[in-house]
């Protein structure tokens, strides 16, 4: 009888990690309630959707970051890739739809290439992912500046309305993000490659001994991460309607913080994008409220740092 009951609890998926994620969403709910008390932005559904649409770019980047952290790596080059996307779009998009297609494809191509480079450095050259992506962080930053030395360019909203449309309560970026989120959720849970990310992050020696091609798996994880960062950049363009070679920098830390708040660890082998989503929301809503009140960005950094410490310290890191 008792055993049966325990099993159903397990079937509901309420392991310790899941309880934590549930707790995270309760915290999120509280923050939402507070925000709606203190901020006029949070009093209508439309405005709430506005805020969510604003955090979509970070959402994409953080999804990719989650994948890399699951494989026990980290990607510091996501910010540069976001910047490259905005720079390419600002440079290439003029009044023709073909220019949009070329700019978007080129952005994704850049993402793929840098993801591949990150993965190869980590696997074939045996460079720690922190160092490897520190190098590509510099390189991507340089590429973005080379393409677009100064912020500028104007991208007509009409041309990119297929990703940026906001009408009534419909926010297309949110729809795209929700779809991507679902695909990756299913992928990580039900696709062998998704499971291999966990396997490689949990114990790469064991994965190798089980006949998995560890290097190929890690390279694929980095490619996915960089493509997602490039997509994040495209959605950022859809918001700011111009290019900026430095606009991606904050995404590096913000994405890592969101992922860590969500319960994915640097140790690798565990983590979920459901947690990451909560992390992104918490970060996004807090900075929105702080901006609303015109809090100096310097203090915002301090507040974010403190929130981060509180969130991460509630985890018990279980060493291997």
């Amino acid at each position: 009888m008792w055993k049966r009951k325990q099993q159903t609890v397990k079937e509901m998926g309420l392991s310790r990690d899941n309880v934590r994620i549930l707790g995270l969403y309760i915290v999120l709910l509280f923050i939402g309630v507070f925000a709606s008390i203190f901020s006029i932005y949070f009093r209508s559904l439309e405005n709430i959707f506005n805020v969510i649409a604003q955090i979509v770019p970070l959402g994409f980047v953080a999804l990719g970051q989650t994948i890399v952290l699951i494989t026990a790596g980290v990607d510091l080059s996501v910010g540069g890739i976001v910047s490259i996307s905005t720079a390419i779009c600002a440079k290439l998009i003029y009044t023709k739809y073909t220019s949009v297609a070329i700019a978007f494809l080129l952005s994704l191509l850049f993402g793929t290439i840098f993801g591949y480079i990150n993965g190869v450095m980590r696997t074939k050259l045996r460079i720690d992912s922190f160092i490897a992506t520190l190098c590509t962080m510099l390189i991507t930053q340089g590429v973005a500046l080379a393409i677009l030395p100064r912020p500028g360019g104007y991208i007509s909203a009409e041309l990119i309305s297929f990703i940026s449309l906001e009408k009534g309560i419909l926010r297309l970026p949110i729809v795209y993000f929700a779809f991507t989120f679902l695909v990756i959720y299913v992928f990580l849970k039900y696709h062998p490659l998704g499971r291999y990310f966990y396997a490689v992050g949990g114990n790469s020696k064991a994965a190798n001994a089980s006949g998995l091609n560890v290097d190929a798996i890690i390279i694929k994880a980095h490619i996915m991460c960089s493509i997602l960062a490039a997509i994040g950049g495209l959605f950022l363009v859809a918001r700011i309607k111009s290019g900026d070679p430095n606009v991606g920098s904050p995404f590096v830390l913000d994405s890592i913080v969101a992922v860590l708040i969500g319960g994915t660890t640097f140790i690798g082998g565990k983590g979920s994008i459901v947690g990451t989503l909560a992390g992104v929301f918490i970060l996004g809503i807090i900075s929105n409220v702080l901006n609303m009140y015109g809090i100096n960005p310097f203090y915002q950094y301090i507040i974010k740092g403190i929130i981060f410490v509180i969130a991460v310290s509630t985890y018990r890191y279980k060493g291997k």
Partner: protein, 514 residues
């Protein structure tokens, strides 16, 4: 033995690592349907030879011939294709994944348009296979929630699932209970009858003589010889392993016992152990026996302050002490050497000297920081005393053999000048020669007036080295015996004393769910 056909032949294999010649022209052959034991001291080259076969290590020269064809194995997946599977000594499982995922890693069942994983099918496959092996485990449990014994069962099941023709078992029983070992042997016999060939790497002579058909001995990376098990004797094999005759393996020396130095009264750790009472005298070694999950490790961890949520009283030298942390335990004269050397005991990247002095740095503090000369001096003394084989004090610990690493950890404990040393499975995975050295060392420590508590799952070891034997069963002390008068049967029945009820509820085999 069914037929004499050769299935695997390793010829003249050599392998050098920087500074070490690990294999010097080793030969090994395996016939269809035989269990071939591979023995030798730690560092003799067994694991290296098996890693060559697995593709984890590349040989320098020599031939691997499988089914009469020379095969070049470069990666583990090629080994798999050749029909060889491995049960690793260091458990090669992924902690965050479930039993079923670990077992079917790399060969998931997939379905549908997107070739996604069919979790239902994975579960039922795993469940059926475990049932066939008579292993009672939940396919949906994460590996990190399993005990080491349970993990070892998963590792075994995983290797068997590959349907291999050659199965390499590297110390497969190191954390199994007797009951599980019996099951494993039944599985091995079944596999043999089906024509599988098994390479069985082990230190445990009882097992080797029970299960193997032939025995190949390596020493110092050299091939010493191959014997047919039923035509040879233990003494012969021992002398091949060591290179000289050893008559007696276990030696207990009686020393004069002093005062009670450790007294434990009513120690309780909720749900794990209850009402533990015993006394330890100076110059006495108490062996702690019990099944997996009896609470032995937790008892020592509580005495050492690793587990803090305990009630009861602890007296050292008649004085009541409060042990809040390992640091305070060391101050009170206790030292604990844990079971899991790799995870809890070693600093693999630090030097031998650093590893020895790390718990007793205070002794070497000078006016301007650490006095290097005194560290070198006292480490050298201990290295000689314990006969630790290392090229230099500066050698990185990871490069030492398992037995020597264990001695380094012992040296670290001795250096804190404890009154009481607590050891958890100090000889697990260690070769016979080093074992004897460790026993001698324990005798010397006793003679110096130390009290020793030692957990061991090898019953002969407990019986031959201990002055007293404390048996735990399901968290309670089920007997404290004087070594001279006790019989194996008495200890065994005490070990099972309080678990019988649980067994009736379906939790058999000493596998107790955490």
């Amino acid at each position: 033995m069914s037929g004499n056909s050769l299935i695997l032949k390793m010829e003249n294999i050599t392998k050098s690592f920087p500074g070490v010649k690990a294999l010097k022209g080793v030969n090994f052959e395996l016939r269809k349907g035989e269990v071939h034991a591979l023995v030798g001291e730690n560092g003799a080259g067994k694991t290296t030879l098996m890693n060559v076969l697995n593709g984890l290590v590349q040989k320098d020269s020599g031939k691997i011939i499988i089914d009469g064809r020379e095969t070049n194995i470069i990666t583990p997946s090629q080994t798999r294709e050749a029909g060889i599977s491995f049960i690793h000594q260091e458990l090669e499982l992924i902690p965050e994944l479930t039993v079923k995922e670990n077992m079917l890693l790399g060969q998931e069942t997939r379905k549908g348009l997107f070739r996604l994983i069919d979790w239902k099918a994975m579960e039922s496959k795993t469940r059926d296979f475990l049932k066939k092996l008579d292993i009672h485990l939940d396919p949906n449990e994460k590996i990190l929630n399993l005990s080491i014994a349970q993990q070892q069962l998963v590792e075994i099941a995983k290797a068997l699932y590959q349907n291999a023709r050659i199965i390499v078992m590297d110390e497969p029983t190191s954390s199994l209970t007797d009951e599980d070992v019996k099951k494993l042997f039944k599985i091995i016999r079944d596999l043999k009858n089906q024509g599988c060939a098994i390479i069985y790497v082990s230190h445990v002579m009882d097992e080797i003589f029970e299960i193997s058909d032939r025995i190949t001995v390596l020493r110092d990376g050299m091939y010493i010889g191959t014997e047919v098990t039923k035509d040879t004797t233990r003494d012969k094999i021992f002398s091949m392993i060591v290179g000289k005759d050893i008559k007696r393996r276990y030696i207990r020396e009686e020393v004069k016992k002093g005062n009670v130095i450790l007294k434990v009264v009513g120690l309780t750790y909720n749900g794990i152990f209850q009402d533990i009472n015993f006394e330890l005298r100076a110059g006495e070694l108490i062996g702690i026996a019990g099944l997996m999950g009896a609470g032995r490790t937790e008892l020592l961890e509580a005495l050492f302050g690793i587990i803090k949520e305990v009630t009861g009283e602890i007296y050292v030298n008649g004085k009541k002490v409060h042990i809040k942390s390992p640091e305070s335990a060391i101050k009170n004269g206790l030292y604990y050497i844990s079971e899991n050397r790799r995870d809890k005991g070693l600093f693999p990247t630090l030097s031998v000297a650093d590893n020895i002095v790390v718990s007793s740095m205070d002794q070497h503090r000078g006016l301007f920081g650490i006095k290097k000369s005194s560290i070198i001096e006292s480490s050298e003394k201990l290295i000689n005393q314990l006969n630790i084989k290392t090229p230099s004090l500066k050698q990185v610990l990871a490069n030492l053999s398992g037995g020597n690493q264990q001695k380094v950890i012992l040296a670290r404990g001795i250096k804190t000048e404890p009154k009481i040393i607590m050891l958890n499975e100090p000889t697990r995975g260690i070769d016979v020669g080093t074992k004897v050295e460790i026993y001698k060392l324990l005798n010397r420590l006793k003679a110096r007036g130390l009290g020793i508590l030692m957990i061991s799952s090898e019953l002969p070891e407990v019986m031959e080295i201990s002055d007293k034997i404390l048996v735990m069963s399901a968290g309670k002390i089920s007997g404290i015996f004087d070594n001279i008068s006790v019989t194996k049967e008495q200890i065994l029945s005490a070990m099972f004393k309080y678990v019988e009820k649980k067994a009736a509820n379906g939790e058999r085999n000493g596998i107790i769910k955490r």
